[in-house]
Subunit: 518 residues, 2 copies
């Protein structure tokens, strides 16, 4: 039995409160325990402010990128060990464990690469300079400056590595020290990641702290230059949004919460073509990868009404091929849910959905006598407009099948019933159809993904979050935005309009002349 | 006695609740009454959604810009009438009334000009296209799409014209219908502006509604694509931030609240030089314009400790020249505060500040026997670190004088005690000093303004909000951002990452090839 500690004030610190057990979702056996507390939140924040901030400020963007690259290297060196812990504590297959760990490494490398192209000066230039007076003497320039605060990252259990490092990469490159709180069910994985990062010896003092378990009153101690980035449930997101510190200081808060991501099949995509095959493959992948515990997993599948029976049969056949079982077993394609509470919640969710539809495959019953296993579950809705299919994120290997007319506007209208999502995918070879779908569904999403015969071979699945594209979505999805290359740094920076004599503003704060970039 | 009505569902509608009186701040006589209610918030929102949204969607950016230009023309044609109402209900001098009305007209014209340069297609392109796959076949592009929602604008009493039109210009160009709620004390001015806009006949049905008095449960009826932009007190901002609809839907909320804007004199600026004279002139202007009821007014003046006596004497001498009196009188440089409650609050604020300093001129006593008049008030702090000078926005013609060492880092540290502001101004001919001041004070502000001998002649005062530069600030200032040219439209739009076959993504959603712009 391992004991998870927090890494605060530059040392590993045991918790003080009653222990919580973490389990192996495959066997239901306890594998670690976690005790909250053992630290003073004020001291943790002060450490970040007084040590971490100046240490990062001494580094250029490029040097912070090199830090990210070094962290990526350290994770890569311990990849096998991390995969083993992920299988043990997360119930992930080795493939799913790699998805998480390689996602973390890839994001760090992408931000290292981005940082290597940023200016030597400690700020980013935003747009061209502007003449403000009668002549060009009085000049304006927008710049992004690092906010002298602390980033509190509240991460979800489903991506203990990627989720943490994705937020960290942006904060560190921007120059802001981080405090990482892992999701408790998989905190053993997160704490192993934290150990690797700390033991790399690359992190400047105060730039990284890791709080396992409760945050205590950390949030209440945050000030106006601090920020919170949260990934998790809408309910917790709402609590954070209404929390006194956020409200009092207009604290920056990025929420990435529930999302009923929808895949839409356009009417002209015939069975057997490349786009149709990709549709089947991606829906199955985005339903079952990480046992559906992926914020970008496909939750709703919209199919032209006349095609419903055919698509249902094809999806059921494909889902039947997903072998559910011990994630340590190489033949296994889908492991258990990560925790007992997830298992219970997903079962309850499936039951609620099933009351308004028909279970095409899978269901709420346990798929194995021991462990938190469910079979991939497809529920055919009786009516696409039923609110339950659009209001309830069942965070497991479960999606609903919904009929629509084939018109992109109707698809968009149905998809929008979800109240805002992270990503929607559409399968069509008709550019006009795609443009019309984007016009309707686009504003409800952070990302819109199109497949066609021409890109099928090369496209990454819609559930794949890329460091170069924004990740987030309006409304129910949290209203936030992460990643997107340089855009991901802006959350940790303040956009400032600088005004004054052109000779000062342009030379000190303007775009560096061509050729002078590093 | 005029009765203020709301303009909802395409008609002027009387209120239903008990009347509230609006006054002439010069004479304290009632000039209008306002009754809240008389409408169903659901119907108002539905009107905006079902009529306003599609009507604006039928217009291109350029056409929406032409709408702004037409509204500017309509306001210009009624400028004299609006100035008279402003003097009557706002207690503004004619100069201050023009500042408000011309600010509104200028912002509309600036956004008309901006819109004329936007693409013919109904979205904005954000950054370059990105290769996502192994080859360029799989491609990404960020775009901004109009959010199919309603913009609720809750405006402050101090700029009944400019404040409303500044928000409106951005929303309308972005294609989002507006509901404008004026600040009650000067709602007579706002309602005259509203009448001019409506009578112009240019506003598409449903694109503009005006709610005088209480919003009823309008906020509770908002959905995930709607937004609120608010200008006013921190207390109301906090209430909005914690309101159930905002929390439940992760509703977009832009708050522009208190700001203790600081002017800083660098040590090398000698008395008599152009920069010093501009410092005196701007501090006096930004203390007394609009009787200090300006969110960007100067509230704190930082002066090198050794220069304190000299600068204090010079400022007192300049402030003594500000003639306080009937705003209708051409000789008057400063009118009354806009309402009895403002008058009372400012007097109480001056008394609180005076307990930690010395009144150099002015004070809490009424400047005239009738009307809500105060003299320009300068309070010399005993100690720059006293919290009262940084925690309290006294929203009137009042500023504090604070000593500092002359080091830009110390000035920035003192200024940051304000917890985040809209603008800070610095007077220096030393570029290195300016760079160091920006590094420290920049992240605490939305705008940093520099004066030097070289730009003195042409520079606009720091209190001047420009449509091309962002307006807003972190922390106490609300954490929001408005204007800034195209940036101001983004609040009303959703940034979406589009992925797919390059042939689709680039041609349908990418940057138009050079030369094809309108």
């Amino acid at each position: 039995m391992q004991t998870i500690q927090s890494y605060v004030l530059g040392r590993w610190t045991p918790g003080a409160s009653a222990p919580v057990s973490l389990h192996n979702p495959t066997t239901e056996e306890p594998v670690a325990e976690l005790r909250s507390g053992g630290f003073d939140p004020r001291a943790v924040l002060e450490h970040a402010r007084s040590e971490g901030l100046p240490a990062l400020a001494r580094l250029s963007f490029r040097e912070r990128g090199e830090l990210c690259k070094a962290l990526a290297g350290a994770l890569h060196a311990k990849r096998e060990e991390l995969i083993d812990v992920s299988v043990l504590n997360g119930g992930t297959t080795r493939g799913d464990a790699k998805f998480d760990i390689d996602g973390a490494i890839g994001t760090l490398v992408a931000y290292a690469d981005l940082a290597s192209k940023l200016p030597e000066r400690p700020f980013l230039v935003d747009g061209p300079g502007l003449q403000l007076g009668r002549t060009a003497r009085f000049w304006g320039q927008h710049v992004w400056l690092t906010r002298p605060g602390v980033a509190l990252h509240i991460n979800a259990f489903n991506f203990p590595a990627w989720g943490m490092l994705e937020k960290m990469a942006c904060a560190l490159v921007a120059g802001v020290p981080v405090i990482e709180k892992p999701g408790t069910p998989t905190a053993l994985v997160a704490s192993h990641v934290a150990q690797v990062l700390v033991e790399s010896g690359k992190l400047p003092a105060g730039s990284y702290q890791f709080i396992a378990g409760s945050l205590g009153d950390t949030i209440e101690q945050l000030g106006p230059q601090d920020c919170i980035a949260f990934t998790g449930s809408s309910a917790t997101g709402a609590k954070l949004r209404a929390s006194p510190a956020v409200v009092r200081h207009n604290l920056r808060l990025n929420v990435e919460a529930d999302s009923l991501n929808a895949a839409v099949l356009a009417p002209e995509v015939e069975a057997g073509c490349e786009t149709y095959n990709l549709f089947l493959a991606n829906v199955v992948l985005d339903m079952t990868q990480k046992t559906g515990q992926k914020c970008t997993a496909t939750r709703r599948v919209l199919v032209p009404a006349g095609r419903l029976a055919e698509v249902r049969a094809d999806l059921v056949a494909e889902l039947a091929r997903i072998q559910v079982g011990d994630p340590a077993d190489k033949a296994t394609r889908m492991g258990p849910l990560a925790s007992k509470s997830q298992f219970d919640e997903v079962r309850a969710g499936i039951e609620r959905l099933a009351r308004s539809g028909e279970i095409a495959c899978g269901g709420a019953q346990a798929a194995r006598p021991k462990g938190w296993f469910l079979a991939p579950t497809l529920i055919a809705a009786r009516d696409a407009a039923q609110p339950v299919f659009h209001a309830e994120e069942v965070f497991g290997p479960c999606a609903s099948l919904l009929p629509y007319s084939g018109a992109p506007e109707e698809a968009a209208r149905i998809v929008a019933l979800g109240g805002g999502g992270l990503v929607t995918s559409a399968y069509s070879n008709d550019n006009a159809w795609c443009e019309r779908y984007l016009a309707g569904a686009g504003p409800w999403h952070g990302r819109v993904w199109f497949a066609s015969d021409k890109s099928a071979e090369q496209s990454l699945a819609p559930g794949m979050v890329l460091p170069s594209l924004v990740h987030g979505g309006p409304g129910r999805a949290g209203g936030g935005e992460e990643l997107g290359g340089e855009r991901g740094l802006h959350f940790y920076m303040q956009r400032v309009a600088v005004q004054g004599f052109k000779g000062l503003v342009e030379s000190s704060f303007g775009q560096a002349p061509a050729g002078s970039a590093v």
